[in-house]
């Protein structure tokens, strides 16, 4: 029997990662005691900070601002090289010169969500009251909390009405929350591969991920920072499980099949014989380099709690009553995390609210992740939607 190799330690130290937590290599908006963030759990978070990036210029009448909302493990580095991984921005396919969301036409804002670990206040930040890392003392946050914090940032940037709010997955949830909470401030909304509530199956997958983190002996009840370690094994397992849900059977089969990794025959061990195994291990280990385990717990929880209809007496259409925002909803055929049926329910509610809504389902075998990949049909639709909204908004070009 060959030896069993577990998930390797991250190449980047906890110190390097924690530097980005409090001193990110991006712009930061500080909110002092006079501007607390009122959280759904009843706590006023103060002081706090939001890390963000902007691209392009705000026009004279402040009508061309586009807010990009990132997904669960994304951050503010939507269209620039990531300071930790050195990789291109996570939505470089959609955002950037010549892309559907072009900084030549729009003032693009992307912030790290509250509760994150890339410069916005979260469980990995230092609690000013104790001088120690927050850990599990950090209050539980929700999608509406994230959006409330974003609204404060948008205010700070001098933008009243956003031309567009755009996001996929958890970012799509934020888009919907923006339109429901601030209908007058969102001219157009592009909600991709998302839902108005997190399904039981998705909550189940998140619980699996959280339990993997908590089962890691290095987690120390969330207090791992005090021990100078990081529960990277548990977090990597959580990421591996989640990553499977982002793909589809067909995409995995096309990419890997049952092919072996660097060998012809099985080793009769628990080594990564199959390519799909090494791929997942790589996904897990590269994720722990840039992400904090407790932040993962908090952000998955925020998604679990999300249910727009519940906040409006169980009637989804009420969340979007009399809304003037122009919507475009996009789903992908092979997305089993946020299947088309969920988008369709949203579209029905928007129709019932008489909202101006477009809805397209894109044929692809690439699963939930398709929204981050190069899918030309999706870009064509995004571009056309924003262009027609831009025309209605009186933007020169877009």
């Amino acid at each position: 029997m060959g030896g069993v190799k577990s998930i390797p330690s991250p190449a980047i130290s906890a110190d390097e990662r924690s530097h980005e937590v409090d001193h990110p290599s991006s712009q930061i908006a500080h909110f002092g005691a006079e501007q607390p963030l009122r959280l759904d759990c009843g706590v006023d978070l103060t002081p706090f900070q939001i890390a963000y990036q902007t691209y392009g210029e705000l026009n004279a009448d402040r009508s061309n601002a586009v807010l990009i909302c990132h997904a669960l493990t994304g951050d503010q580095h939507v269209a620039n090289v990531h300071p930790v991984t050195g990789k291109p921005g996570w939505w470089e396919t959609l955002v950037g010169p010549g892309r559907p969301i072009d900084p030549k036409h729009y003032f693009i804002i992307c912030s790290n969500v509250i509760g994150g670990c890339m410069g916005s206040t979260g469980p990995a930040s230092i609690n000013p009251a104790t001088g120690k890392v927050w850990g599990l003392d950090f209050p539980v946050i929700t999608i509406p909390d994230m959006v409330r914090a974003q609204a404060m940032l948008v205010d700070r940037l001098g933008v009243d009405t956003l031309f567009a709010v755009v996001g996929g997955s958890m970012g799509g949830m934020q888009v919907l929350q923006w339109t429901a909470a601030y209908p007058g401030r969102v001219f157009s909304a592009l909600a991709i591969a998302c839902a108005t509530r997190h399904s039981a199956q998705n909550i189940a997958f998140h619980e699996l991920g959280r339990q993997a983190v908590m089962a890691d002996p290095d987690w120390h009840g969330g207090g791992y920072a005090d021990h100078g370690i990081h529960p990277h094994r548990g977090l990597a397992v959580a990421r591996m499980a989640a990553h499977i849900t982002y793909l589809s059977d067909a995409a995995l089969h096309r990419k890997f099949g049952r092919r072996m990794q660097d060998r012809e025959l099985p080793t009769f061990s628990f080594d990564a014989d199959f390519q799909v195994e090494s791929y997942l291990r790589y996904q897990g280990s590269s994720f722990v380099e840039r992400f904090d385990a407790n932040a993962y717990l908090y952000l998955t929880r925020a998604m679990d709690y999300f249910d727009i209809a519940a906040d409006h007496g169980g009637v989804l259409a009420k969340a979007f009553a009399e809304i003037a925002t122009r919507f475009c909803v996009v789903s992908f055929t092979s997305d089993w995390l946020f299947p088309t049926s969920e988008s369709r329910a949203l579209v029905h509610a928007l129709n019932a609210s008489s909202a101006r809504v477009s809805f397209a389902e894109i044929e692809t075998d690439r699963g939930h992740d398709a929204f981050l990949l190069d899918v030309p049909e999706f870009f064509d639709i995004s571009r056309a939607f924003l262009q027609s909204a831009g025309k209605a908004r009186g933007l020169k070009d877009g």
Binding site: C328, H348, N351, R356, A360, E361, I381, K391
Partner: protein, 220 residues
């Protein structure tokens, strides 16, 4: 059965004119500028585009994914959906007009669809190919096979059209469910309106397609 009121044509629907289909031009002429319109079965959005040039706030439903994606790519507000199943999700009086253009014959339940149109919209505009058209009759009578025309080229076994009707049949259905016909126009083979002073059976014989502007009857 009668055509209650026949208004004069504005001169628009005189044969196929340029890029727009004759029946689309006729439909667009029936819609008051500034109104809110739902086009059920909007295809690739040609009619919606025509309506938008007239300042009409248009929405669409389309069954085919390719059609929807083309519409959205044109910047139109169109959702993927099925006229037979999705209309129930639309609230009463949501639109000024609901249009069903060349789609009635492809629905499973034309009567239910028609009722829904007039629940969602204060008015409905319905256009359909007339199966009473002389060429259709001739093909069945002389040729002994299911008719096929330039506009309806599919063979009987692979057509999406499952509920053909004649102008006469449609008028009967409207009477039955107490729908008021505000205006009706039959177009001949060349997209020209069949002269209005001709007797009713001429329409049913020489109308290749028909366009009806409907509203709710008073007796319900």
């Amino acid at each position: 059965m009668s055509v209650q009121e026949v208004l004069p044509l504005g001169g628009l629907a005189t044969g196929s004119s340029g890029q727009f289909r004759a029946d689309h031009l006729l439909v667009a002429e029936m819609v008051k500028p500034g109104s809110k319109v739902l086009d059920v079965g909007c295809g690739e959005g040609d009619l919606l585009q025509l309506l938008e040039t007239r300042g009409i706030d248009g929405r669409g439903i389309e069954l085919s994914r390719e059609g929807v994606n083309r519409c959205v790519a044109k910047g139109l507000a169109v959702v993927q959906g099925d006229a037979d199943t999705d209309l129930v999700n639309y609230p009463d009086d949501a639109f000024d007009y609901v249009i069903l253009s060349q789609t009635l014959q492809a629905t499973r339940q034309p009567r239910v669809v028609l009722e829904n149109l007039l629940r969602i919209g204060r008015r409905a505009i319905v256009s359909f190919p007339n199966f009473g058209f002389w060429k259709m009759r001739l093909q069945l009578l002389v040729g002994g096979h299911m008719p096929r025309t330039e506009n309806l080229p599919a063979t009987w076994y692979d057509t999406a059209n499952i509920h053909f009707c004649t102008i006469k049949d449609f008028v009967q259905l409207c009477d039955e469910i107490n729908v008021k016909m505000e205006r009706s126009v039959a177009l001949d083979l060349y997209g020209r309106p069949v002269p209005l002073n001709l007797p009713w059976w001429v329409w049913n014989m020489f109308g290749e397609q028909a366009v009806f502007l409907l509203s709710r009857g008073g007796g319900k």
